[in-house]
C-alpha cells in the first residue's frame, strides 16, 4: 500500500503546470471564446504533443510513451487549472486508448498522428449525444450500440450547440453518420464503456484543477481587497467559505487518484471508483465556484475578470461523460440497489 505519486510523476506535473502557465494563460482561454474563431490553437496543441502529453497513453510502438492513466491524471488536472480549451481528455484519454483497443488496422495510423499532434479525435458514445470539438476534430469515433465508426466530421452534418462556456464547443451530429467501422459486433459496447469511464475520470481530474484555480483566485483577491478597513479575507465568513472549498477539494482528490489507479490496472470496481471520483470532483468544483464567486463579490461577476472562465468550464464539464447525477446514481446502483453486497468497505481500496 503506497498511495503517493512518484517523484517523476510529480516532476512531470510541475513541468506541465509551468508550461501551461506560459502557453495557456487566462488571456488565451478568453481568446478561445471568440465565436468567430475555432477557439483552438494548433501551436499550443503541438507543444503539448511534443511534451509527450497527448500521446502519453499510446504504445511506444506508435511513438507514444506507453504510460498508464495514473501517469496522465495529474497532467489533466493541470489542464483543468489552465482551463485548456483543446480536447486533451477527449483525444489523449478517451480516443487514443479506444483506438488502440479496437485493434483496427487504421488505428495505428491515427495513433501516430495523435502522438505527433497532427490529429485531434473526439468521441460520440451511446447516451452521450453531444460531441466536443466536432468543428476541428480530424475524426470522431461514433458508437451506437454494437457499432463503432471512425467518422470524418466534414462528411456529416454537425450543429453547434452554444453552451455556457464559450471556449467549450459542443455539437450534435446528424443521424446515421457514415464512416469506417472500427470493431465488428459485441466488443464495441465493452470498449465504449471503458472509454466512457476514461472520459469521466478525465473530467474529474479537470474539475480538481479548475477548483484549485478558482480557490487560488479567491485567496489572492480576498488577501488584498479591503472593505471596512481590513482585508476581506480576514472576515471569518470569508475564511469559512474558502475553508469549505478547500475541504471539498482535498477530500475529492484521493477519490480521483484512486480511480485513475483502478483504471490503470483494470480493477474490477474501476467503474464504481470513477463514479465516486466524479461525484465528489464535480461537487468540489461546484463548491469552489460558488464560494469563490461569493468571496469575490461583484468583481467576480464581471466578464473582464477571469474567474468566470473557470466556473463556466466546470459547469460545462459536469455534464460530459455522464452528469454528476448519473455518477452519483451509479454509486447507488452498485452499492445500494441490488441484493448482492457492495464492495467490501474493508477490502483493497
Amino acid at each position: 500500500m503506497r498511495f503517493a505519486f512518484t517523484e517523476e510523476q510529480l516532476a512531470f506535473r510541475d513541468a506541465t503546470r509551468a508550461m501551461l502557465a506560459r502557453i495557456c494563460p487566462a488571456t488565451a482561454v478568453r481568446t478561445a471564446w471568440d465565436p468567430a474563431s475555432s477557439g483552438r490553437d494548433p501551436a499550443r496543441w503541438k507543444v503539448l504533443a511534443d511534451a509527450g502529453i497527448v500521446g502519453l497513453l499510446v504504445d511506444e510502438a506508435q511513438g507514444g510513451l506507453g504510460r498508464r492513466v495514473i501517469d496522465l491524471v495529474l497532467l489533466i488536472e493541470e489542464a483543468g487549472r489552465a482551463a485548456l480549451p483543446e480536447p486533451l481528455v477527449e483525444t489523449a484519454l478517451v480516443a487514443a486508448p479506444l483506438l488502440a483497443a479496437t485493434g483496427s488496422p487504421t488505428a495505428n495510423e491515427w495513433l501516430a498522428r495523435i502522438v505527433s499532434g497532427d490529429a485531434t479525435i473526439t468521441t460520440s458514445l451511446d447516451g452521450e449525444p453531444l460531441v466536443a470539438d466536432a468543428h476541428v476534430a480530424d475524426r470522431i469515433i461514433v458508437q451506437a450500440r454494437d457499432t463503432m465508426l471512425l467518422v470524418d466530421p466534414r462528411e456529416c452534418s454537425v450543429v453547434h450547440q452554444p453552451t455556457v462556456d464559450g471556449a467549450r464547443r459542443i455539437f450534435t451530429l446528424g443521424s446515421d453518420p457514415r464512416g469506417l467501422a472500427l470493431t465488428p459486433g459485441d466488443p464495441a459496447r465493452g470498449l465504449a464503456a471503458r472509454a466512457f469511464d476514461h472520459g469521466a475520470l478525465g473530467v474529474a481530474a479537470m474539475q480538481l484543477g479548475l477548483a484549485a484555480r478558482m480557490i487560488d483566485l479567491a485567496v489572492a483577491h480576498v488577501s488584498t481587497r479591503e472593505q471596512f478597513g481590513q482585508p476581506v479575507g480576514s472576515f471569518q465568513a470569508v475564511k469559512h467559505h474558502l475553508a469549505d472549498a478547500l475541504l471539498a477539494l482535498e477530500l475529492a482528490r484521493p477519490l480521483v487518484y484512486r480511480a485513475a489507479c483502478s483504471l490503470s490496472h483494470d480493477r474490477v470496481h474501476a467503474a464504481l471508483h470513477v463514479s465516486m471520483a466524479r461525484a465528489r470532483a464535480d461537487q468540489a468544483a461546484g463548491i469552489a465556484a460558488r464560494k469563490s464567486l461569493q468571496c469575490h463579490g461583484a468583481i467576480g461577476y464581471s466578464f473582464e475578470y477571469d474567474l468566470h472562465l473557470f466556473m463556466k468550464r466546470s459547469w460545462a464539464l459536469s455534464s460530459a461523460f455522464g452528469t454528476t447525477s448519473f455518477h452519483r446514481d451509479r454509486v447507488g446502483v452498485v452499492c445500494l440497489d441490488g441484493d448482492s453486497p457492495p464492495p467490501d468497505p474493508f477490502g483493497e481500496p
Binding site: R290, F303, F326
Partner: protein, 387 residues
C-alpha cells in the same frame, strides 16, 4: 386571520390577468440588459403605463391605482405568471421611488415620478464604487459646492450600475462633507444625476452572463442643481438606507417571481420524470415548493403587519434578502440537475435555466452580500454584540 382574498382583491386579480393575457408579447423576450432588449422593454413599460399597470400601488395622480400592498403582490404574481418581460424600470420604481415618496419635495415628486412610471425617464442606481462594495460607507465620489450656479459639482466613479449603459438618470450618494466629523456614514448627500449631462462618461462592463447592461459611470465636475438633492445635504446615508431596505426586502423580489420559477420547475420535473430521470431530484423540488410557498406566505404576513401597524420593514428585510436569493439559486441548481446532459446549453427551450442560474448567482452578492445581511440579522434581530 383571513387567508382568502376579498372580492375586490379577486376582481383586481382577474382584471390584471385578463389584461396581461391579452397584452404580454409572446416570448422569449430579449434581455433588458442588451441595447435592443432595453428598447423592447422600454416600449413594453409604456404599454404597461398606458394601461395603468406600471405602478399599481402609487397614487393615481402619479400614474398608479392606489392599490393596497396585497393588490400589489397580486399584480406581481400575475405578472410573473404571465411570463411578462423584465422590468427595466425596476431600479427607479422599487429603489428610488419609495425614498422619493418619503423624503422628496412635492416638486421632485411631480417632476420625477410620472416620468419614471411612464418610462420616459429610466433610472440606474449608483451605489457601489470600485473601493466601496459591501462597505458602502467607504465611498469616495465627492460633490463640491458651486454656490454661483446654485448646485454641486460631482466627481468620482460609480460601478456596477445596472443598465446604466441605457438609462437616462442615476441616483446615488456623494461625499459632501470633508471634515473629520464627516467620515464614513456622515457627510454624504443623495443626488440625482442626468446621465447625459456634460462630464458624465458611461462605460459598459460585461457581466458574467455575457450581457452588457452593467456600467461604470465616471463623473468629472458634473453639475447638479440643488433641486436634484434628495433629503438634506450631508444626510444622504439615512436617506439611502430606506432605499436599500426596500432593495433587500419586500419590493425588489416579490414572491410572484419565485412562484413562477417553482411552477416551471415542477413542470420540468414532471417532464424529466417521464424520461426516467429526476427521481434523485424529487426532494429538491419539494424544497423549492416549500421555499416558494413559505416566501409567499411570509410576505403576506409582512404586508398584513405593515397595513395594520404602519410598520416599516427594518432588519427583517435582511431575512428576506437572504431567503429569496438562496432560494432562487437552489431552484436553478435543481433545474440544471434535472436537465442533465443539456444543462450547459444556453439556447433552445431549456437554455433559460442556465442563464437564470448565472443571474441567480448574483443574488447573494448584490444589494449587500448575504454575509453582511446575516450580520444584520444577528445584530439587529437577535441582538448579538457588534464587534
Amino acid at each position: 386571520m383571513d387567508l382568502t382574498f376579498t372580492e375586490e382583491e379577486r376582481a383586481f386579480r382577474r382584471e390584471a390577468r385578463l389584461w396581461l393575457e391579452a397584452n404580454v408579447p409572446p416570448g422569449p423576450h430579449p434581455s433588458g440588459d442588451t441595447a435592443d432588449g432595453f428598447d423592447f422593454c422600454r416600449r413594453w413599460e409604456r404599454e404597461l403605463f398606458d394601461a395603468r399597470w406600471a405602478v399599481v400601488s402609487w397614487p393615481e395622480r402619479y400614474g398608479g391605482r392606489g392599490a393596497s400592498l396585497v393588490e400589489w403582490l397580486i399584480f406581481e404574481e400575475e405578472y410573473y405568471r404571465a411570463g411578462a418581460p423584465q422590468r427595466v424600470s425596476q431600479n427607479g420604481i422599487f429603489l428610488l421611488a419609495p425614498t422619493l415618496f418619503e423624503l422628496g419635495t412635492e416638486e421632485q415628486k411631480e417632476r420625477i415620478l410620472p416620468a419614471m412610471a411612464a418610462a420616459r425617464a429610466l433610472w440606474a442606481q449608483g451605489w457601489s464604487e470600485p473601493g466601496a462594495g459591501s462597505d458602502l460607507a467607504a465611498l469616495r465620489s465627492r460633490a463640491v459646492r458651486d454656490e454661483a450656479r446654485g448646485g454641486w459639482l460631482l466627481t468620482g466613479q460609480k460601478t456596477w450600475c445596472t443598465r446604466a449603459a441605457f438609462c437616462d438618470h442615476l441616483f446615488g450618494l456623494f461625499r459632501t462633507g470633508t471634515g473629520k466629523e464627516h467620515a464614513r456614514h456622515k457627510g454624504l448627500t443623495y443626488f440625482f444625476v442626468d446621465l447625459r449631462a456634460p462630464g458624465v462618461t458611461v462605460r459598459p462592463v460585461g457581466r458574467l452572463d455575457g450581457d452588457a447592461g452593467f456600467a461604470d459611470v465616471v463623473l468629472e465636475d458634473v453639475f447638479v442643481p440643488d433641486g436634484d438633492v434628495l433629503g438634506r445635504v450631508h444626510e444622504g446615508w439615512s436617506v439611502a438606507m430606506s432605499t436599500t431596505s426596500s432593495e433587500r426586502g419586500l419590493s425588489l423580489r416579490s414572491p410572484g417571481r419565485f412562484l413562477a420559477t417553482a411552477e416551471r420547475l415542477v413542470a420540468l420535473y414532471r417532464r424529466e420524470r417521464e424520461r426516467g430521470a429526476g427521481v434523485a431530484c424529487r426532494e429538491r423540488v419539494v424544497d423549492a415548493l416549500l421555499d416558494a410557498e413559505a416566501y409567499r406566505l411570509h410576505t403576506f404576513q409582512t404586508v398584513s403587519k405593515m397595513a395594520e401597524a404602519g410598520a416599516k420593514m427594518g432588519a427583517e428585510s435582511s431575512l428576506n434578502k437572504i431567503f429569496w436569493s438562496e432560494m432562487d439559486l437552489a431552484m436553478h441548481e435543481t433545474a440544471l440537475a434535472l436537465l442533465g446532459p443539456s444543462a450547459p446549453l444556453v439556447e433552445g427551450p431549456d437554455g433559460a435555466w442556465m442563464k437564470g442560474f448565472e443571474f441567480a448567482l448574483a443574488g447573494p452578492i448584490y444589494a449587500g452580500t448575504n454575509e453582511i445581511q446575516r450580520n444584520i440579522v444577528a445584530e439587529r434581530l437577535l441582538g448579538l454584540p457588534r464587534k
